[in-house]
Symmetry: C2
Subunit: 347 residues, 2 copies
């Protein structure tokens, strides 16, 4: 999936919003208009070891840079938004103990970024922000409610009902990777330390682990040869080998899709959204790739097999469409929601 196309200032509809997508590797900052269309984007390394204070400064600077890049001024920007990995306290704007941002514990990141860019900043979980982005302008733009699963190293989740992001009362809402699909004691172990979670079956990490387990029983697989030649086993490698005809690779990808179909079904029976949208690296190139299409077909088949007739017929299950831009677009969208709420209160 390529990045979304940039529009120019003359095409844009003010007011503007800036979104910051804070990841363990990169910081993405983008500026969008009232309709969520990006005018400018910047990506810089997060550089976690330099600490949160330094990063907050650089985020503030990137917000100002992206405003200049878009050819507007800070006064044209109504609000900013920041999506961050957890754990966090959303209402307080605090990072708590984020495992992907070691050394950043108990840091008031929302207010620090706000101080450094001089704009009000709304705060959200990164997957919830991405979900809001897809809901606002991506695959879910026609939906009244939506569930997003982000399939990467882990399985993230975001649930949007109406214009409400299900953050939960303790900032643990929409943790869809941690719903239990196998109650047995010997179920697979999730990186979070619990067993039987969807993430332990449907993440890229889970698929690579499963591939390692099966390699010795499948000497004919081209994956075995690549691993023996020193290549690192990844879901990208599996997708390449599956496309080249390797059976084991395709089986592993479809197995993950089947488990994801189980999780998607449970989410449909809980939320009953208009649609469930799948994003992240483990969508294998999406609709543009034969492997991606087979993966999606398998998820849909498992859902169809397991759900109620009405939902089988009506609920959309599809890929996300904003690629790596979903995070900053959604963060900007969360900023827009906060801005609108303030406008309402002011009457």
């Amino acid at each position: 999936m390529s990045d979304t196309e940039l529009i120019t200032k003359s095409q844009a509809q003010p007011p503007y919003f800036v979104g910051v997508d804070l990841g363990g590797t990169n910081l993405k900052v983008g500026l969008v208009d009232e309709q969520g269309r990006p005018l400018a984007r910047i990506s810089v390394p997060t550089d976690v070891p330099r600490g949160p204070e330094d990063a907050a400064k650089r985020m503030g600077k990137a917000v100002l840079d992206v405003i200049v890049q878009a050819g507007i001024t800070r006064e044209d920007v109504a609000h900013a938004g920041l999506g961050s990995p957890g754990t966090m306290d959303v209402p307080a704007g605090m990072l708590l103990e984020p495992p992907n941002l070691r050394g950043w514990e108990n840091f008031p990141i929302r207010d620090r970024v706000s101080q450094h860019c001089g704009l009000p900043v709304a705060f959200a979980n990164d997957a919830n922000a991405a979900a809001y982005g897809e809901f606002w302008v991506g695959s879910g733009r026609a939906f009244r409610s939506m569930v997003l699963l982000t399939l990467g190293t882990g399985v993230g989740g975001g649930i949007i009902i109406g214009d409400h992001s299900v953050d939960g009362e303790h900032s643990h809402g929409s943790e869809c990777g941690h719903i239990i699909i196998d109650h047995h004691q010997d179920a697979r172990m999730c990186p979070c330390g619990q067993t039987g979670h969807l993430e332990a079956y449907g993440s890229a990490t889970a698929v690579a682990k499963r591939a390692h387990e099966l390699l010795n029983t499948r000497p004919e697989s081209s994956v075995k040869k690549r691993v023996e030649s020193g290549d690192e086993l990844s879901t990208l490698m599996l997708a390449e080998e599956a496309e080249a005809g390797d059976e084991l690779s395709m089986e592993l990808i479809l197995e993950a899709a089947t488990y994801l179909g189980v999780g998607v079904t449970s989410l449909m029976h809980t939320i009953d959204p208009d649609g469930v949208v799948l994003g992240g690296a483990m969508t294998f190139g999406g609709h543009d790739s034969p492997v991606g299409r087979k993966f999606l077909d398998r998820v849909r088949e498992e859902v169809a097999r397991r759900t109620f007739p009405v939902l089988r017929e009506k609920t959309v299950v599809d890929f996300a469409s904003l690629g790596g831009d979903a995070g900053f677009i959604g963060a900007a969208g969360i900023g827009r929601l906060a801005y609108r709420k303030k406008q309402e209160i002011r009457g």
Copy 2:
């Protein structure tokens, strides 16, 4: 759990709301004040075979009767609400193919009841209505969001976030009994025809079925003797025998509690509510009974073992408190929400 206490007209705060709780066996109709306190209630047989048109007439009459019983007039009532088992189309006010109301297919029940009582009627799934009742004035009255599981013949669910009942886009929201806790092909069969659903492990039906499976392996159990003497095996019997010291009965009850803990954990990781509330006959007498307390302790232990530290510490897991009144109080509450929305729109 006994019924909630009735208040008198002089204690009540107008306006008033009437709730109808339509069940497969009984119709309960109650009148409550602005604070959800009941002034009067009526229960009559549903008499399913007489058909939906006849029942709608009797529901309309019961609404008028309960108004008389409360000592007020129809003009004092702002709105009514109706909670019904599904399948249904909530926005259309239609029953579709309700398995517990055979012969009532595709019936516009909301509007027919409204015609027969002369009041506007809001419509909801029965478990969602009960959840709203507990949220409004019951165990969840201090919560901002809540999940209710109703444990009876099946496992019903209701999810309330803010003042929003998660009905879903296709009237299949909050079907918490049908989240999957075991993805394996050989998982237990749910009455809905699918495998691995929470209901297949945590309902009274599931527990009785499991008891039958185990009886021959446990000749010492007092349940075996009672069944051989002609008593029907029920969760009520299991509760009695567990209280009298029967080990098998207690094991079966705690096994169901363990599975319910798995489901509650998944719901906490999806919604992250302030609290999860358990109602219905399979709460074994609730806090007033030693068996009920052991059952709840086991649910809580399983949740504590499986969830994140913050949720372990903060999320309330407890029994519902409105007993059989939750349905009509919640239906009245849904009516009150509809009334308030109309007032807002009128400005």
